[in-house]
Point group: C2
Chain length 329, copies 2
């Protein structure tokens, strides 16, 4: 499939999302997982066995010192992303870190500055951006075919049930909607406008465990355009995205798992692109990360570190409106 | 079709919306149009000839004195609704008045108080509420099948082109998005929650003719629920409505012309109701108005006058945020 050198991956955090990543990685081509680590060596071992990975470790430090791994996918709780990423960077590893990149902008800044200092590749694993239908959406936007974009709508809501001990509702574990689910619509709006909002309006429901169980956001941009975003770990939503421009609109059903996108130019027949992949789609971001490594780039043009930082600042501003703080803030 | 007495209708304003109403009225059964009036007697005559109406007049006063008409449908510009409705009520006619009922709450209050004093039937022609799929949506909501409703989304946007002389962009003619198109999503949210928002957040684009060409609203209710509403006379939107509850959700494509609605109860197969009517659907509200007249009711339970008034107050509050005033305000 590729004549390029294989990229050797490590995986930090042997949980669910890392499992999806590892299973998808085979579809990237030119990738090889050489080690996995977790705070529990037993879980790392089970993960290694399941995915045919040669080495497993009981700590991030050991993975940071693995002789072969060139880049590490970090799929741990977001409360420990910063600690993990810094450890890995200190060990000279490149990093693909799950969203949310960190808990807040200050943590993200620390990572970005250190990675730049070391000249190491780092990227937020906003995998949605690399899905073929979303790449097509970006092409349509760039071409100006729907005119000036005036309104973006996006949302991600699901019913996680009532499990106050689980990660999603647990404040100590960085739970709540915004960082987990809400980052998708917020990042989508950032991608479309290439800007952060000048004014943020919001409603939120903080539940009894102290985290945001659902929210609605209305962003107003310097340009006068707007974004309307919703998220919840309590309500099942349509999870679609719409982009309205002066000459047409774009629809992405289940936008964060995008398998298709439809372009409606006013007065013309709609055009739909479909991606009939048989896997979840986490491999596309890995393809991008590996292309960057092979070409010596330290960040991805589709998800630049400066944008990751600015999105974290927007999330900080939203949480400030809600009075929502995490441990250590 | 009906053994009940025929209700004799007058029509005030021989324009486009009245034409749709007159064409649809035949599907109501038990209705007869006996007279039409307009500021231009010629237009009234042409309308009468087209729709087979026996009498036509060049003024609202003459229609108010028509010996047969029992109820008048008012389809004039909303800037003259109040004047027309008051003239008709003084003549002892019942009234079905197009939306927006009036320009502001003060005008609506004047009508409602006078109609009550005279014991005459008056109803805002929010025809959407009487469409069978919307009636079904209300039944689903009443049954509690989707649990507690936490978020309502609705919008109405179309591209009317750039015609600054036309009614939609003309401030003197009460133009702009909110009163014309925006009232649909605002009224829909009011219908679902049976309440007006405790907090209103908004973005708006006031164009060069001084009217609101597009807007986004985020409503927060006393209960903590929210509504996210959009409107535009410049942007084509999906025009769908979604209602998200704790146990499921409801989708109404093209909600203000609702021909179908789908109920999604979490974990169950979706259920869709469809209305395969061959006409626009303005007759359903006429059926309701006639039932009220035959039963001696002075208002419709599905669109009570108090709610019409409270919706006008919400629209007033929104316009106050925007600094948007109409002539005489």
């Amino acid at each position: 499939m590729t004549a390029e050198r294989n990229v050797k991956w490590g995986i930090m955090g042997p949980g669910g999302i890392s499992g999806t990543f590892a299973s998808d990685l085979i579809f990237a081509g030119g990738a090889e997982i050489v080690a996995v680590a977790g705070r529990s060596k037993e879980k790392a071992e089970a993960f290694a066995s399941k995915h045919g990975i040669p080495r497993f470790y009981g700590s991030c430090e050991e993975l940071a010192n693995d002789p072969e791994a060139e880049i590490v996918y970090v799929g741990t709780l977001h409360t420990i992303h910063k600690e993990n990423v810094m450890t890995l960077l200190r060990g000279g590893k490149s990093v693909l870190c799950e969203k949310p990149f960190t808990i807040n902008a200050a943590e993200a800044k620390e990572i970005v500055e250190y990675a730049k200092e070391r000249g190491l590749f780092v990227m937020e694993a906003m995998w949605t951006r690399y899905l073929p239908p979303i790449r097509q959406v970006r092409e349509w936007l760039k071409s100006g075919i729907i005119g000036e974009v005036k309104l973006v709508k996006a949302e991600f809501g699901f019913d996680a049930g009532w499990n106050p001990e689980g990660r999603l509702l647990n404040k100590e574990m960085g739970g709540g909607t915004l960082l987990d689910a809400g980052i998708y619509p917020v990042s989508f709006a950032s991608m479309v406008f290439g800007a952060q909002p000048a004014r943020i309006m919001s409603t939120v429901h903080i539940g009894e465990t102290g985290v945001d169980e659902r929210f609605s956001l209305l962003f107003e941009y310097e340009s006068g355009a707007a974004a309307s975003l919703h998220g919840s770990v309590q309500l099942e939503m349509s999870n679609e995205a719409w982009i309205y421009g002066t000459k047409g609109k774009i629809h992405v059903p289940q936008f964060l798992f995008a398998r298709k996108a439809t372009l409606y130019v006013n007065g013309e027949e709609p055009v739909t692109v479909e991606d009939d992949r048989t896997f979840t789609g986490h491999s596309y971001q890995a393809v991008e990360a590996m292309a960057c490594l092979r070409e010596g780039r330290t960040e991805s043009a589709a998800m630049p570190l400066d944008e990751t930082l600015r999105i974290m600042e927007t999330l900080d501003s939203i949480r400030a409106q809600w009075g929502l703080k995490y441990a250590g803030e």
